[in-house]
Amino acid sequence: MQPFRQLNGVAVALRRDNVDTDQVIPARFLKISRAEGLGDKLFHDLRFDGNGKVRPDFPLNDPARQGASILIGRKNFGVGSSREAAVYALVDHGIRCVVATSFGDIFAGNAVNNGLVAAIVSEEDIEKLLSAVEQTGRAEADLEAQTIKAGNYVVPFTIDPARKTRLLNGWDELDLTARHKDRIAAFAAQDRTARPWAVPRA
């Protein structure tokens, strides 16, 4: 996984609460494998109308915002389904950092597993960032310092310390777990004796 330190890039503002993962990637695209890439399906039904025509008023379609790597959302981003494809679509589209006042729990977990920073800022600061990004079209994220900069604002963000460490180092969770192989085996053996009823038998 690619480590994340600092990012200075094109930013886009999505001034909406409760952007659910069905909006991030509609369910009919969940058949697509990661190898094929999901970037062009990001926000598909918000970017295009029923006839496949571009909706010019959707922020991601703004010609000045192409190649965005930072997305500023609002409250409760990534709520809903557990589809990791929502994170794949963002990452494959080039987004490396999403800023919001809160995130769906499963989405936030999926984000860190794919090197995507889910940065939480206060309600007051998100409005500042949204306005600044709507004007400037750029932002800077610094994971080490836990700050987002846009226009004249530098605002702090929070992120779980364990997730921060993984993102900074680009650590894969499976590699971390491999260190505990013996502990897992010992637990499984002891548990088998303690809870024989817990293993299903038809």
């Binding site: 589809r83 994170v87 310390p161 809870r195 024989p196």
Partner: protein, 468 residues
């Protein structure tokens, strides 16, 4: 003196292999359910050239892409590919599969409890956000993403930060015609779709204790729609009676030993929760959603809200967007909203009691709109047919289909057409959830039946008079 523990704390402690310095716990997984959508997780396992660690604790079920047409014909080869892919992935790794032609097939969150795979005191995971359903039996059940699916496949463990505990107490007694779906949506309306974020929810109180196991499954199914990591109900005699004798449940001495352990699981009387919410069951009305989030819930006798009355301009704009998408006008009475079709199905509300509740309203009546009834499992379907419920549905003019996720998520081809309005027993009214441009109103099976009969959103209660 040891601290009094909650149900959640006790099960967590029994499954915690270790707690790392970074505060994350490595947890043992007792059951891992996989479905067609889990292919991304299997792909990662294959990319590492490794094997599934515990195929005996992994169970495959075909549900998301299966056709509900009577002959199970796929109308699109890409859908068949999804089901075939599950056959290949489970076969390659020696994982049991309840596939398309298996009499045990159904929606994973219906089949797990039905087969006795889901029992109390476990940690259960699945790459599906409605996994919390299984918490109804007193287990920690958590929906996970594809990377976590591959982690569980490879290690039978996953990392979690211990969530906070939230207790939702519903005391009192529900009125006639009001059930678990009304309770669950009323909770979400009260606390919002992020109200339980970062929390494990325990549902408690007299109205919860009074629920059947199927009602508890509906309730916990919707925990995710309040943002919760998981939802659970303490195991009790209702739970033990439900589990006993099911195909995969512990048997004989094993069952007795298990019940002994399960009896010790409920939260201690003075256990502390990080947050508490309470509702009075007698104040809960039959509810429906009007907008594009499950928190947009109102009693059926209310009117569509008016964005002009909302102080927060961002919220008002969001509300107007929802009304535009839904094709509704402010202050319009909910009972004046006409529907184009109905759907009775999904992991939320397609168990036998749900079908009975809908049939009780539909018996001897005709639906004014078309609709699909898809039982939660093939076993539920057979039971419904034995009880003659299928005849009630078809006599009313509805289609009686096979079991699967179907029109809840619309990826098997069962979609609501653009602009069409559907009264649905499902769990999400998100934009496009039942198909691009589809307009979804969530409600209970009895309320969907009432909408079918009247052709508009309607209070089911008057329609129940003189009926069971």
């Amino acid at each position: 003196m040891t601290q009094p523990l909650t149900l959640f704390d006790k099960i967590w402690a029994q499954h915690e292999i270790l707690k790392a310095d970074n505060g994350l716990s490595l947890l043992w997984v007792d059951r891992h359910y996989v479905h067609e959508g889990s292919f991304q997780g299997f792909d990662k396992v294959d990319a590492r050239g490794e094997r599934v660690a515990r195929p005996d604790l992994t169970f495959g079920i075909a549900d998301h892409y299966v056709p509900t047409a009577r002959n199970r014909v796929f109308n699109d080869p890409s859908l068949k590919h999804m089901v075939d892919q599950l056959v290949v992935n489970t076969g390659k790794h020696g994982v049991m599969l309840m596939g398309l032609d298996d009499p045990r097939q159904g929606i994973v969150h219906v089949v797990g409890p039905e087969q006795g795979l889901t029992i109390p005191g476990l940690i259960i995971v699945c790459g599906d956000s409605h996994t919390a359903t299984h918490g109804a039996l007193g287990s920690i059940a958590i929906g996970i993403g594809a990377s976590e699916v591959s982690h569980v496949l490879l290690t039978q463990t996953f990392w979690q930060k211990k969530p906070k505990r939230l207790r939702v107490t519903v005391d009192g007694q529900c009125g006639p015609g009001i059930g678990a779906k009304d309770i669950a949506l009323s909770i979400i309306a009260k606390i919002g779709t992020n109200g339980a974020q970062g929390h494990a929810v325990e549902y408690a109180g007299a109205a919860i204790r009074a629920l059947t196991m199927e009602g508890r499954l509906t309730l916990c199914n919707l925990a995710i729609e309040s943002g919760a990591r998981t939802g659970m109900v303490a195991p009790d005699e209702t739970t033990f009676a439900y589990v006993k004798g099911r195909p995969f449940a512990p048997k004989g001495d094993d069952f007795d030993r298990a019940v002994e352990v399960w009896r010790a699981l409920p939260s201690e009387a003075d256990a502390a929760f990080d947050a508490e919410v309470s509702l009075d069951a007698s104040a809960i009305a039959p509810v429906v959603t009007w907008g594009t989030s499950p928190e947009d819930t109102l009693p059926i006798d209310a009117a569509v809200p008016d964005p002009a009355q909302v102080a927060d301009p961002a919220r008002a704009q969001q509300m107007q967007g929802a009304l535009d998408y839904m094709g509704l006008k402010p202050s319009q009475k909910l009972t004046d909203i006409r529907v184009d079709r109905v759907f009775i199905g999904s992991c939320t509300n397609a168990r036998i009691e749900d079908l009975r509740a809908a049939a009780a309203v539909l018996a001897g009546r005709k639906a004014k709109v078309p609709g699909l009834v898809s039982a939660g499992s093939t076993q539920v379907k057979h039971q419904a047919e034995q009880e003659g419920l299928d005849k009630i549905f078809t006599a009313a003019g509805l289609t009686w289909g096979e079991s699967g996720c179907s029109m809840c998520i619309g990826i098997n081809g069962d979609v609501v057409a653009p602009g069409e309005r559907c009264a649905s027993t499902t769990n999400r009214n998100f934009r496009g959830r039942q198909g691009p441009g589809a307009r979804t109103h969530l409600m209970s099976p009895a309320m969907v039946a009432a909408a079918a009969v009247t052709g508009h959103l309607a209070d089911v209660r008057p329609m129940l008079s003189g009926r069971a």
